[in-house]
């Protein structure tokens, strides 16, 4: 099938094309799911009349699948009841806002112009379930980051002084077995330490059982993904999430990367100082300065958005602490399979609450003070900082200073005096927003055929009608094409299609297999071969989209 979009202003930061600035329009054509050089062959034609054409949006950090999301759904039936199914046969399957069903996730993302979303915390023991769930999310390509760094197998190896090669083999085996795309570290070693009853873990504190420190876990796994040639760097949820004074940990963590690539996720939750009479302050400026000075570092924000949500994280150590703030008052925690854990805590961010208001401001400060739009990504850590459906509102906050300051004026008064937000004049341009939400995520994920509109790319194309109200503009895509098929028209779902799942396939020393078998037999109580997920188990038998990796010797 051939689709031709004429008269659109193409905004494609990857190639440097900016029809918004020049006013130039051109034809974009998709044939059999791929972008092609325009032809005059018969095609389904759309006259865009000067609307803006973008590559499909890519969210590199959003909790959309896996056991913790099902625990969130179970715990937050209120959310589900408050957001019932939208009318129409295409979306008549589930609902919810903070913890939406698989269909609601796919449809709502699709309406906003997103076509690819990565689940950032897949626990190995739960990987099969996460993949089953992702297969049921329509209109989105997906992928998942495997949580490592708290697994007893790894810590045991490290405590025994294993060679890096052996660790690389283990990481490679786990990525392949769980059909993962990248490695995520959540509170390095801390979740494991909590199983031994430690309640906090600093960067250089030893694990109560293994003696291994978060710093060594981080450095060892950074080396592993570098040497395995994984496209995405270590995706790190650092130590001491949410604790005032964790700014020092974050700064030390950036230095601990020692110049190697490292992605710091939901940085907002890790940018808290202890200044002021309330012992809670913004360290966004200090941290942004450090990020600006270290080109090896990329970040996503995890912006807090006001309202009811639910937080779901593998960081049970932190979430156990956060139980005290649960709203409504209930929460679930779980130690998982010598692998990781999870904590699910409902949360309401209130604009009249000092801490919540300042969290909001800290997130925006980070967005506005980190200079390079290719190294910062638009996230709310869905649903932890707020549901992804708030993205259009967030985009307007970043693109419209008057709107931002008007919002700021309504917040908790003391919080306002603790933030420099009002003085920041920066407004994101449309081109920068396209970088944040498409071009840059594709680049940092190594997805060379996504995030741009050059021939050969995947036919994920989004059309927005320009509106000076950027929230309105980004709330409803005029058209969304997934692999060249029209799935959204005038902000509404017109079709649901199956996506694919991206996985990375590094080469590794298969000599590790025997040891993995013994570990699973003796410790886990499950056969390694049953832990391992076959290609045919993904996407209803369609299998994954495989990115092969080339090792480097950095």
């Amino acid at each position: 099938m051939r689709v031709r979009l004429t008269g659109g202003r193409v905004l494609d930061p990857t190639t440097g094309e900016n029809g918004v600035a020049t006013g130039a329009t051109r034809t974009v054509e998709i044939h059999d799911g791929r972008l092609v050089t325009p032809t005059d062959l018969p095609a389904e034609e759309y006259d865009l009349g000067g609307d803006i054409v973008l590559a499909g949006g890519i969210d590199l950090h959003s909790h959309i699948a896996g056991g913790k999301m099902n625990l969130a759904r179970l715990l937050m039936q209120e959310d589900r009841r408050a957001y019932p199914e939208l009318p129409g046969a295409f979306c008549g399957c589930g609902g919810g806002r903070a913890s939406p069903s698989a269909h609601a996730t796919g449809c709502r993302y699709s309406e906003l112009g997103y076509t690819t979303v990565f689940e950032p915390a897949m626990v190995g023991a739960n990987a099969r379930g996460a993949h089953l769930e992702m297969a049921d999310i329509p209109n989105l390509d997906t992928g998942a980051y495997l949580v490592l760094g708290n697994d007893d197998y790894l810590l045991r190896l490290m405590a025994a002084g294993a060679q890096q090669e052996q660790i690389n083999a283990y990481v490679g085996w786990m990525i392949e077995a769980t059909q993962a795309f990248a490695i995520k570290i959540v509170n390095p070693g801390g979740i494991n330490a909590f199983k031994f009853n430690a309640r906090r873990m600093n960067l250089d504190e030893g694990n109560p059982h293994y003696g291994v420190t978060p710093r060594t876990v981080l450095q060892t796994l950074i080396r592993a993904v570098t040497e395995l040639g994984l496209p995405h760097p270590i995706h790190l949820h650092g130590c001491n999430l949410g604790i005032p004074g964790n700014d020092e940990t974050t700064l030390a963590t950036i230095l601990a990367a020692e110049g190697r690539r490292l992605h710091l996720t939901h940085l907002q939750f890790h940018s808290y100082g202890t200044e002021g009479d309330r012992r809670f302050s913004s360290s966004a400026a200090r941290i942004a300065e450090m990020v600006n000075a270290h080109p090896n570092i990329s970040v996503d924000v995890g912006q807090v958005m006001f309202g009811q949500t639910i937080t779901a994280s593998a960081d049970y150590m932190s979430q156990y602490r956060n139980r005290a703030f649960a709203s409504p008052k209930k929460s679930i925690g779980m130690d998982i399979e010598l692998d990781a854990a999870c904590g699910v805590v409902p949360f309401e961010y209130r604009d009249r609450n000092f801490v919540n208001a300042l969290q909001w401001a800290i997130g925006l400060e980070l967005f506005l003070l980190v200079e390079d739009p290719w190294r910062i990504f638009l996230t709310t850590d869905h649903p932890n900082g707020g549901p992804f459906t708030t993205y259009p509102h967030l985009m307007r906050l970043l693109m419209d200073r008057d709107f931002r300051n008007a919002q700021l004026a309504t917040l908790h008064k003391a919080a306002r005096s603790h933030t420099i937000l009002e003085s920041i004049t920066r407004e994101y341009t449309l081109e920068e927003m396209a970088i944040l939400t498409r071009a840059a995520p594709a680049r940092i994920l190594g997805l060379t055929d996504k995030g741009h509109l050059a021939p050969g790319g995947v036919g994920d194309v989004v059309v927005h009608t320009e509106d000076s109200d950027r929230e309105k503009m980004f709330s409803r895509a005029r058209y969304v094409f997934k692999n060249g098929r029209l799935v959204v028209k005038d902000g509404e779902i017109v079709e649901t299609v199956a996506g694919t799942t991206h996985v990375a396939r590094p080469e590794f020393d298969r000599g590790i297999e025997k040891d993995m078998e013994r570990w699973f037999d003796e410790a886990v109580g499950l056969k390694a071969k049953h832990f391992r997920i076959a290609d045919g188990e993904l996407r209803g038998g369609a299998g994954p989209t495989i990115l092969t990796c080339e090792g480097t010797s950095l």
């Binding site: 399957c93 589930g94 099969r128 009853n197 209930k330 998982i336 010598l338 188990e537």
Partner: protein, 417 residues
């Protein structure tokens, strides 16, 4: 039967999907269509894996009369098309079968519930009110030094539970102590417990005794005498063992406890209290016939667990109103799905469409019976373990002559109006 006479085929490391414990080390012998478990399996697996060579070829039927598959499928479709309030119950299916049933229910409307959901919802009464702090099999295996078992000896329902939970050489637990509150451990349990120290507290009121342990763990003292039939001193010793544990675990089987909801609530409170100073988790038992998997599927597809009704593309959850027992009173059609075992549908005056195990013995012949293959014997599939985290790939052990639930249900869904 010897190996030489019949030249059977031996399949090792077979996954068992029946009770929810998720054993995946079975050895199964197959010979043509005959299947039988060998060596160390629990009685339930031995019974449910068994397929005799001389078993009759099961066929579709209507009102007990053999019909073609096409006729049975057409009849099922006609019944559903005319149905006012269908109930999709049993739901003993693998994930793919569950998807097919869910889509059928979405199309025709109806209530969805599993045959084993009573125990699950007793636990959910606690979970949905307060949440809980839980753990999984591999954590118990390696960390648990004090295990509190509430109620009956669970070995009757989960034949290899203690062998799986408490192997002899854990990575971390320095010792093993198992406290049985309620029934004493049977011979089989004792054999599996090996070197673990066991204590039996024969409570006559489980809730009261457990409540007393919660209080003790919170630092209260008991006045003496007995609580729930257990001497106060014994309860205090149990509480001391739990608070002194490095990693305490509380387990119970909600399905066999009439007071399951209260037990779940007290167990949750106990684990909450223990976690203030040490580490602990609940380990609720259950998970028969992939109830956990189907429940997970509903959660991600609909946003609701089992006991949910779909009407006009909108779903609604009510753990009381949409239980099988309650829904049967309002239903006019029962779609009975039970692929793992020959479990007959409940008494029902309306029309019955059964996608069921070929050996199912019906109290009265159903309007439509489509025999289906068993996941893990006749076809591959995925099932969840009781902890809701781990899921397992079932394989096929023989050439299937029967459709899977997914295939049969999709035939019925086929070109429905």
């Amino acid at each position: 039967m010897t190996e030489i006479e019949s030249a059977p085929h031996i399949v090792r490391d077979v996954v068992c999907g029946f009770c929810g414990l998720g054993c995946d080390d079975l050895t199964i012998e197959t010979d043509g269509s005959a299947v039988r478990a060998r060596d160390t399996v629990c009685p339930e697996a031995a019974r449910l894996f068994l397929r005799r060579a001389d078993a009759r070829e099961p066929q579709c039927s209507q009102y007990g009369e053999v019909t073609s598959e096409a006729d049975a499928v057409a009849a099922a479709r006609a019944i559903l098309a005319a149905a006012r309030a269908p109930l999709f119950a049993g739901l003993g299916v693998d994930i793919d079968g569950g998807r097919a049933v869910l889509e059928l229910a979405a199309r025709f409307g109806g209530v969805l519930d599993h045959a084993a959901s009573e125990g699950l919802f007793r636990n959910y009464a606690a979970v949905q009110r307060t949440g809980w702090l839980a753990t999984t099999l591999a954590e118990v295996r390696n960390r648990c030094d004090v295990l509190l078992v509430v109620g009956e000896d669970p070995t009757a329902s989960f034949g290899r539970l203690f062998e799986r939970l408490l192997p002899a050489s854990p990575l971390f637990a320095g010792s093993r102590k198992v406290i049985f509150l309620g029934e004493a451990p049977g011979e089989k349990a004792r054999a599996q417990l090996g070197g673990a120290e066991t204590v039996h507290l024969p409570a006559d009121d489980l809730v009261a005794a457990l409540e007393a342990i919660v209080g003790l763990a919170r630092g209260r003292t008991l006045p003496g005498g007995t609580v729930g039939g257990v001497a106060a001193a014994d309860l205090a010793a149990a509480a001391a063992a739990l608070t002194g544990a490095a990693y305490a675990v509380v387990t119970w089987n909600g399905a066999t406890l009439a007071d399951g909801a209260l037990i779940a609530e007290r167990a949750t409170a106990l684990v909450d209290a223990l976690n203030l100073t040490t580490r602990a988790g609940v380990f609720p038992l259950g998970g028969r016939d992939n109830i956990i998997g189907v429940n997970q599927l509903l959660l991600w597809r609909l946003g609701y667990p089992l006991r949910t009704a779909i009407r006009g593309q909108v779903s609604e959850h009510d753990p009381a109103l949409f239980s099988t027992e309650a829904a049967l009173k309002d239903a006019d059609v029962l779609v009975w799905v039970s692929a793992f075992r020959p479990e007959p549908p409940p008494d029902f005056a309306g029309k019955v469409i059964a996608f069921a195990h070929p050996e199912t013995r019906f109290a009265r012949p159903p309007e439509v019976f489509i025999p289906v293959g068993t996941p893990g014997i006749d076809h591959a599939g995925t099932v969840y373990r009781m902890d809701s985290i781990v899921s397992l790939p079932l394989g096929a052990l023989r050439v299937a002559t029967l459709p899977s639930v997914a295939e049969a249900v999709r035939l019925v869904a086929g070109d429905a109006p």
